[in-house]
């Protein structure tokens, strides 16, 4: 259907051959400026890193050895930490898909209404995202500090002192604790995207739903949720991407520890590349991360993109 519009066979004016060719080229001209930057400064470095992933290279010297797929097979079969990291990423992604996204939707729905203080609430919920990450790590290390942290102080204050603990220092609690910080910091983004999405829903749909006698829950299910379809695509794919690329929070809050229980693929790639001087192996991990994301997110985006 849209093919007809673009080549525009129904214009009132007749067009010359040259004009028609231009019309055909138009979509590509729109895309070209973005594509040039994208190819030059993202795709090219990525291809370099793809090549690196087939090398045994310290990332520093002039010499390297081509090892083919060895880095990838090592990752799959000979790396215990990678298994831990992958497991953590899967759990993290499941959490990221459900908790901050549904909280963000809830916040958007509440704060899209006319209610006193909307501006303040929106700002407060979004505020954590404004902080630089060095600072988020430091703030929450203090919140969780076993000796002077706000959480233990609070627990003692309300008489639940027996629940106070080491949080980030505990093998079992470290990962959930970091995830709570993540939730705190990442409700704002889906909220903003859902808020923007809610503006695009035509108010008439609600009116006709009301006329048809739909109650609030039905209106939410049949008007709001489908209307937010494009927002869902963005929010959920970002959750998957963020879930497998998570790096900064772990790096600043736990450094992968205690032991190696909070290692994720992102930090493991960093440790391998920058600290162990295995640039080839690090690049291979990066491409494992990318492949997982592509395999999970692209079919979903494609499916949702069908008219």
């Amino acid at each position: 259907m849209q093919g007809i519009q673009v080549s525009g066979q129904v214009p009132r004016r007749t067009r010359s051959k040259g004009q028609r060719r231009l019309t055909k080229l138009q979509p590509y001209l729109f895309i070209a400026p973005a594509m040039i930057f994208y190819l030059g400064f993202l795709v090219y470095p990525m291809l370099v890193s793809l090549w690196t992933s087939f090398l045994d290279w310290d990332g520093l010297s002039a010499n390297y050895t081509f090892v083919g797929l060895k880095n990838y097979t090592d990752f799959l079969f000979h790396d215990d930490v990678a298994q831990t990291a992958l497991y953590n990423n899967v759990l993290w992604t499941l959490g990221a898909l459900t908790i901050p996204t549904s909280l963000g939707l809830l916040m958007a729905l509440i704060l899209n209404r006319r209610m006193p203080g909307t501006l303040a609430f929106r700002t407060i919920i979004y505020a954590p995202a404004v902080l630089p990450l060095v600072s988020v790590g430091l703030i929450w290390s203090w919140m969780y500090n076993p000796n002077f942290g706000a959480i233990n102080l609070f627990l003692h204050w309300v008489g639940l002192g027996n629940l106070a603990g080491g949080w980030l220092s505990s093998f079992d609690m470290a990962m959930p604790s970091v995830f709570i910080t993540y939730v705190w910091g990442s409700v704002g983004l889906p909220m903003i995207l859902y808020l923007a999405g809610l503006q695009a829903i035509n108010g008439d749909y609600y009116d006709s739903a009301r006329v048809d006698g739909a109650n609030a829950v039905q209106r939410f299910r049949h008007v709001t949720l489908p209307g937010l379809r494009e927002s869902h695509v963005i929010v959920l794919s970002l959750a998957v991407i963020g879930g497998f690329k998570v790096f900064d929070l772990i790096y600043t809050m736990t450094y992968g520890g205690p032991g190696r229980v909070t290692q994720v693929l992102g930090t493991w790639m960093y440790f391998q590349t920058f600290q162990y001087y295995h640039a080839g192996y690090g690049a291979a991990i990066a491409w494992v991360i990318a492949s997982i994301i592509l395999v999970l997110a692209i079919p979903y985006i494609r499916h949702m993109s069908k008219e």
Partner: protein, 414 residues
């Protein structure tokens, strides 16, 4: 037309510039204050050497974790600073191995640096008979303790490991933790483990363990881990410290909840910076019950990049900043200097003075394990250490696991 000519003139000047002036780029990790102090030294150098300009590029950051990343990327891209700050031992190892650092044996002769620095420091900076760095700091580590707490409990500085145990028992009865440590990054707790290994295994075996020529799966290593496990079990260390950063661990000693902390000379100015009273702090080396009675120490150095366009000028600058005259003229810009005969203002920094006297002497020192092991193996060491602290591993398991990983790592190196 006129502007074009002017542009040409500017271009000409730019092209001609390198022949006239000598630019030296430095990379380091000074924080805001430190950079300002060091700038006075740079200014003095530039005044004394017309035509030479020195630019300092600093990458600070907690534990300076970002700095090696930056350095490595700059080097691999062929755009390194001429001279750069570096820690000793295995931290510098990959840079040397990759051929990114210039051997300085000739420069050592030219400036007679061999006489300027203590032998142990120069030895630590050497690899296969070549020396790659100029010593900057000699950092000796030991126990900072609260004199007031010791006095209040009738305690004196322990001279044997048994006395040390007694100190902890007395403190614990008084409701004070013996020491505080922060487990994030691993290296702060490592200092304790290193001391336990030196005590249990003695100097020779400890050196063999660091060189991986001794098996880690032996009774003295088990005993070392047992010492850590006992301290945890008895609550001698401020608890739940595994992901507390080393900086945050200091709160406990400032607040008098713990009496000791294992640190180096940098801790003395840190006490003052923290805004607490430095006069109640003193220092001793932890007893190991061995002869020689070694302590943990490491050098910090300046290296010259193999890709430097101006190595001679860089060497000249490094000679200038390690020269006794320069350091005396700028006492605040240098910490525990590695230059023999140079101490900081002993009225202002008495403990640093005391440590520098030790590090500049011939007293033997052992390296902290993180400058003896490469980082990849080091992270196994940290993992094992965390396992003990959390009670997930027994000391015997730890020793066996360390040996297994060390053997695997050694095999991989070929």
């Amino acid at each position: 037309m006129k502007s074009m000519l002017r542009n040409l003139a500017v271009l000409g000047a730019l092209v001609a510039a390198p022949a006239l002036a000598q630019d030296i780029r430095l990379a380091g990790i000074f924080d805001g204050d430190g950079a300002a102090k060091f700038q006075t030294v740079i200014d003095a150098f530039q005044a004394a050497n017309p035509g030479m300009t020195v630019t300092m590029e600093n990458t600070a950051g907690s534990g300076a974790a970002m700095y090696p990343d930056m350095l490595r990327t700059a080097m691999a891209s062929g755009d390194p600073a001429d001279a750069f700050f570096m820690w000793g031992g295995t931290v510098a190892g990959p840079f040397i191995k990759a051929g990114q650092v210039m051997p300085l044996n000739d420069v050592y002769k030219q400036y007679s640096w061999s006489e300027r620095f203590p032998k142990w420091i120069i030895d630590r900076l050497g690899v296969d008979g070549k020396t790659y760095g100029v010593p900057f700091h000699g950092q000796g580590m030991g126990l900072f303790y609260r004199k007031d707490i010791f006095e209040a409990n009738g305690l004196t500085v322990p001279t044997t490991y048994a006395e040390m145990e007694n100190v902890c028992t007395v403190l614990q009865a008084a409701g004070i933790h013996c020491a505080t440590t922060g487990g994030k990054f691993g290296w702060h707790v490592m200092r304790l483990v290193d001391w336990f290994i030196e005590t249990s295994c003695g100097p020779d075996v400890h050196d063999g363990l660091n060189a991986l020529t001794e098996s880690w799966d032996q009774p003295c290593v088990v005993a070392s881990y047992q010492k850590l496990a006992d301290r945890i079990a008895k609550g001698r260390l401020v608890p739940d410290f595994l992901n507390v950063s080393p900086d945050d661990a200091r709160f406990a000693i400032y607040q008098g909840k713990a009496a000791m902390i294992l640190e180096g000379p940098w801790f003395e100015p840190a006490i003052t910076d923290a805004g607490v009273d430095p006069s109640v702090y003193s220092f001793f080396l932890p007893p190991t019950d061995h002869a020689p009675d070694r302590y943990s120490a490491f050098p910090e150095q300046w290296m010259i990049a193999a890709g430097s366009k101006n190595p001679a000028a860089a060497a000249k600058f490094l000679d200038y900043i390690t020269n006794a005259e320069t350091i005396k003229a700028h006492p605040d810009a240098f910490g525990a200097s590695a230059t023999i005969g140079i101490t900081p203002d002993c009225a202002k920094l008495p403990i640093t003075c005391q440590i520098v006297d030790i590090t500049q002497s011939d007293r033997p020192a052992y390296p902290p394990t993180d400058q003896a092991f490469e980082k990849e193996l080091m992270d196994t060491f940290f993992e094992v250490q965390d396992g003990i602290v959390a009670g997930k591993l027994t000391p015997a398991d730890c020793a066996a696991l360390m040996q297994k990983q060390a053997a695997a790592w050694k095999a991989k190196q070929g």
